[in-house]
Symmetry: C2
Subunit: 320 residues, 2 copies
């Protein structure tokens, strides 16, 4: 890009307010300088979103910024970490001022919501691509990880499942001109909620955790397969939103809940002995959590519904 274009971009991003603590030197030098509080481990995650693959070409830039940040911050939530800093590598076909204004507005709101500061970045010309790295911290030795589930542990999920896919379906469907797509489901797609407070509350309680980005069963596999374990899922206990149940038939809702992805809810395992403590912790939180199954010693995923047993795969289910 030309120098004038870079200056335009820098103007938008350098004006963003900061919310994360520990920023000793922010944007504008060769590196940002940051302080991790004593007794804390640094947690970092990088994610890329490519236009046409991870988001539609015409998506509202404000929504895109919010969704991109929330989906990355969700990785911090899954570790029980506190968000602190963002770096952003932005590749753009041109310095479109209207797009930049909307994107930076959305980013500012999302940074505030999750308590991060933008501390560095790079801007290049090319196919619209966003790489975001989030940084946070977690007390030494207390991070939630994907390793640690044991047979008998309860399998829990936060919030409701499948909403993001339902929202995407509504977005892509031709709407009659007099009908506005359900705002709750659209919101669940555009502005997923990273479950930061929940992740922090689960430290010392959950035996393993991750966020649901690829779909409940695919992601659950990341907790079970490395441990050579399996799970039984009580299909009738899967949590659905009222909007989902009002607008889609139960079979579709179940398929999205199992295999839909992009909800960015947390999935975690809890030893039976910790369930009372969990209940106590959950009572102070804004999000509902529900036990939907148990970890089993035998590998494989089985769904239980009305006395019937169904073999599940990461893509959904097939009957025996």
């Amino acid at each position: 890009m030309g120098i004038a274009e870079f200056e335009l971009i820098e103007r938008y991003f350098s004006a963003l307010p900061g919310y994360g603590r520990g920023v000793d030197l922010g944007i504008g030098d060769d590196c940002a300088l940051l302080t991790v509080p004593a007794g804390q481990q640094l947690a970092v995650s990088i994610d890329t979103l490519v236009e046409g693959t991870h988001f539609l070409a015409g998506i509202d830039a404000e929504q895109l910024a919010h969704r991109a940040l929330a989906s990355c911050v969700s990785d911090l939530a899954a570790m029980g970490a506190t968000p602190a800093w963002l770096t952003l590598a932005l590749t753009l076909p041109e310095a479109d001022e209207a797009w930049l204004r909307l994107f930076s507005q959305g980013l500012a709101a999302a940074l505030q919501r999750y308590g991060l500061s933008l501390v560095g970045g790079d801007t290049t010309r090319g196919h619209r691509t966003l790489s975001l790295q989030v940084h946070g911290w977690v007390p030494e030795g207390q991070a939630l990880t994907r390793r640690g589930a044991k047979p008998g542990d309860g399998i829990w999920v936060s919030g409701t499942l499948g909403d993001a896919m339902a929202g995407l379906e509504l977005l892509q469907r031709q709407q009659p001109s007099d009908q506005v797509p359900d705002p709750f489901l659209l919101q669940r797609f555009y502005q997923p909620t990273a479950r930061i407070e929940l992740g922090q509350a689960l430290r010392g309680i959950a035996s393993a955790a991750l966020d649901i980005s690829d779909g409940l069963l695919a992601d659950l596999g990341h907790l079970l397969t490395p441990e050579n374990l399996g799970a039984q899922i009580e299909l009738d206990r899967l949590p659905y939103s009222a909007a989902m149940l009002a607008q889609f038939d139960p079979a579709r809702a179940q398929q999205w809940a199992l295999a839909g992805g992009e909800d960015f809810e947390l999935c975690f395992t809890v030893p039976h002995a910790n369930e009372a403590l969990l209940a106590q912790k959950l009572s102070g939180l804004a999000v509902d959590c529900r036990r939907i199954g148990r970890v089993c010693a035998e590998p494989g995923l089985v769904g239980a519904t009305g006395g019937e047993m169904i073999a599940l795969s990461a893509q959904g289910y097939q009957h025996f």
Copy 2:
């Protein structure tokens, strides 16, 4: 990409050896968990390289990996930081196994050279684009920054200038079939050296520093303009390599040295009182450094050569 493709890519990157300390949990969870040593600030920088803009489409993948990492690590060098960790967001048009093998070989060698561990990443499909974030640490309050130059400070550069542009010129020039391009200049383009040891040695000595990525005069502007200062450059003291002098005329060499960029040498300012200490520090290092000018109280860049004074701009020079 398909799951098999992702697994292929993961296989190459998860097999990379690690050299950075403080990795508590590496690739494979929602976040990496890292420990910054006590008394140190974290230094981070993210850079994106887009095929066709920052590197040629046919570039050897091993060379690309080395050049990409060195150019990013150079930002740590410019702060006086110690490299520790890398995250890599890789967008690829396809999972080309031959390309991945070469790229991961080059990356492994570069990680070893600079002492980093790859701790996380993301792989997506699209136009070939690399975003690399480097992480390092520096003793609290001792980082070199771009702010701090004062009138009278000497302006210093490491190594020789303009070599990367000369190497690129050789690469792009049609060579007679019996002539092999100068390997030193090609190496300076493909495998720039991040001046880590020099950056660390300059802590407490240099008043300001950065690495030369855009060209000496453009980058020097980043040290001077925010302080409302200028500089006088002794053009006859600019450092050239023997290969440069043998193959290009002096005017071309000077233009590349002033405005060429991509050399990733350090440019730094040193108060007169610290020059003896600097000489002592430099005697233990493998790279030569040379004072090429002085910071002036008046804004503007002036070149001095054979008693003549020349007005310089970031793009090079024009006579009065």
